[in-house]
């Protein structure tokens, strides 16, 4: 099992990572090796086995719909790299006509 350079670039795009040429080469090699190891699971017959999503038997956890104290806008914005005092700032998302 190996992974192609194109696949690595595609995955990086999905993961919102931009890789240097060096990283592309390194990850193509290393991910190929890891995926090759993971093929081990194909030795097992799992046709009639249920996928385990969680080890606990979890049921819905509900609470009353009450207002509880939460963080203040002022405090939250302190951690933002760019803000205007009210909102987080990001590059323009919508294009103007």
């Amino acid at each position: 099992m190996s992974i192609s350079r194109e696949e690595v670039l595609h995955i990086a795009k999905l993961a919102r990572l931009s890789l240097t040429e060096e990283e592309v080469e390194m990850y193509t090699h290393q991910l190929g090796e890891i995926l090759n190891y993971i093929q081990k699971l194909n030795e097992l017959d799992v046709d009639n086995i249920e996928p385990m999503k969680h080890v606990l038997h979890i049921v819905n956890v509900l609470r009353d719909d009450k207002n509880l104290p939460s963080l203040s806008r002022e405090d939250v914005l302190k951690n933002a790299p760019e803000h205007d005092g009210e909102y987080f700032k990001v590059p323009k998302v919508l294009k103007t006509e």
Binding site: Q30, K40, L41, N42, V76, P81, V90
Partner: protein, 454 residues
């Protein structure tokens, strides 16, 4: 008469200044002295105890970096539930410890704050990812430490540094305020010098929390009390077939020594088989990285974190730039792997298959633990390896986790307790695995091993 807590803290700070081993990421003296003053007024089970916190657990007023550049400027606005409980119990939080970035690693070498050196032998790794917490306890800087364990990150560094590390049952301790790596595996737990100290800390941090819907609503016993009960008549299963190859001679010898000590206390041993154990690492690295790729999507440099400070025209490049600059190599590797196994065309072959094998591995543990009281095998196949030995070979690094990951796959509690040291006096950990919510049993067995050392 013991020194006052202020004197102890002053002395610790002096000692910490003398070391260049980056065990801590943050010790904020102004914050600390204010905190010491506040805590001095509280009478509780942890009064006067000095505690280190892994830097992926939020403490209000201190940075939480997760040893990552992307969170370099992040300050916690709230306390994790475990921290809230420690404050109420009177404990003193000394600072935040170094770790593998976002808890991804087995050596504490993947940190943006530099690699931690094992206090027992500074040419070796302390293990990871809670290597800072384990080293802080091992070197005597703190009484107790908190770590987090997703695939062995409490137990393996405990084994490598000669300390006790306890991973509680999944859901036993609230994860509220712990930065998520792989949410269906992560669990917070204690690292201490002795087993009874771990019991003492677990007493404080365990229990249902309305802010973590996966925390278990199961009564918490007084672990210090259960510790006193006898282990005579316990039956412990040992998967000898796993120990036939790949385990160093000194580790095996230390393990056998633990067995003979427990036998003297009336514990009986039974040969068992874990036939899916060989598939645990592959399963873990599919599922944990898949969960990580999703959990770490929130780090985009918008609401918090660093941004690349470049004028970029579109949002995609903005995200990609911030993330690529902020994350280190192992985190990128795991995000890539996790994204791949979840991607269209590969999801069934990897992720779903991984979940199915998870079921097989977990059921096998559950069945065995109906027949015996606990399972036991070494925490790691070797003693602490040399700094740099595995850092460029990720697969080799992953294979070190062979004895720890299956426990997280099954969500069970496990403790690593120091056995007889191995070659060059390096610590060896013996791991005891219990049934879900039966931390009391493994603490008792661990306590018995510890007492028989004398």
């Amino acid at each position: 008469m013991k020194d006052s807590i202020q004197d102890r803290i002053s002395e610790l700070l002096d000692n910490l200044e003398k070391t260049d081993n980056p065990i801590f990421i943050t010790i904020d003296k102004d914050w600390l002295w204010k905190h010491v003053k506040e805590q001095a007024t509280i009478e509780g089970p942890l009064s006067g105890k000095i505690i280190a916190v892994k830097d992926n657990i939020n403490v209000r007023g201190l940075p939480t970096t997760c040893a990552s550049r992307i969170l370099e400027t992040y300050y916690s606005l709230y306390d994790a539930t475990v921290i809230e409980k420690i404050r109420v119990a009177g404990g003193i939080l000394l600072g935040k410890t170094n770790m593998d970035e976002f808890a991804m690693g087995s050596s504490t070498e993947y940190s943006a704050w530099g690699e931690v050196r094992n206090p027992i032998d500074e040419t070796r790794v302390p293990g990871g990812s809670s290597g800072g917490s384990a080293s802080a306890v091992s070197a005597g800087f703190v009484d107790y430490a908190l770590g987090s364990d997703t695939g062995g990150s409490i137990r393996q560094p405990a084994a490598f540094t000669g300390t006790v590390g306890l991973k509680p049952t999944y859901g036993r301790v609230s994860r509220y305020g712990l930065t998520a790596y792989a949410s269906s595996f992560d669990q917070i737990g204690p690292i201490t010098k002795t087993v009874s100290q771990s019991a003492e800390l677990l007493n404080v941090i365990a229990g249902k929390d309305s802010r973590d819907s996966t925390s278990a609503d199961v009564p918490v016993p007084n672990y210090l009390k259960t510790l006193q009960e006898k282990v005579q008549g316990y039956v412990v299963g040992i998967p000898w077939h796993l120990l036939e190859k790949g385990v160093d001679e000194d580790v095996l010898e230390s393990f056998k020594d633990v067995i003979s000590r427990l036998e003297k206390e009336g514990v009986r041993f039974k040969k068992i088989e874990l036939k899916y154990a060989d598939y645990a690492i592959a399963t873990y690295y599919i599922l944990a990285t898949a969960e990580a790729s999703s959990n770490l999507a929130r780090f985009d440099g918008v609401r918090y974190g660093v941004n690349a400070k470049e004028q970029l025209q579109d949002l995609f490049s903005y995200y990609a730039k911030n993330r690529s600059k902020g994350f280190g190599p192992e985190v990128k590797r795991r995000i890539m792997l996790g994204t791949y196994v979840l991607s269209s065309g590969y999801y069934e072959a990897y992720y779903t298959r991984g979940q199915k094998v998870r079921n097989l591995i977990a059921q096998e543990f559950f069945t065995l633990l109906n027949e015996v009281d606990a399972l036991m095998f070494p925490t790691t196949p070797t003693t602490a390896f040399k700094l740099g030995e595995n850092v460029d070979d990720p697969l080799k690094m992953y294979l070190n986790d062979v004895f720890t990951v299956s426990v997280n796959i099954a969500g069970l509690p496990a403790i690593s307790v120091p056995g007889k040291p191995g070659n060059h006096g390096l610590p060896v950990g013996c791991q005891i695995i219990g049934n879900a919510y039966e931390e009391g049993t493994i603490l008792q067995l661990g306590h018995t091993i510890e007492r028989s050392r004398i």
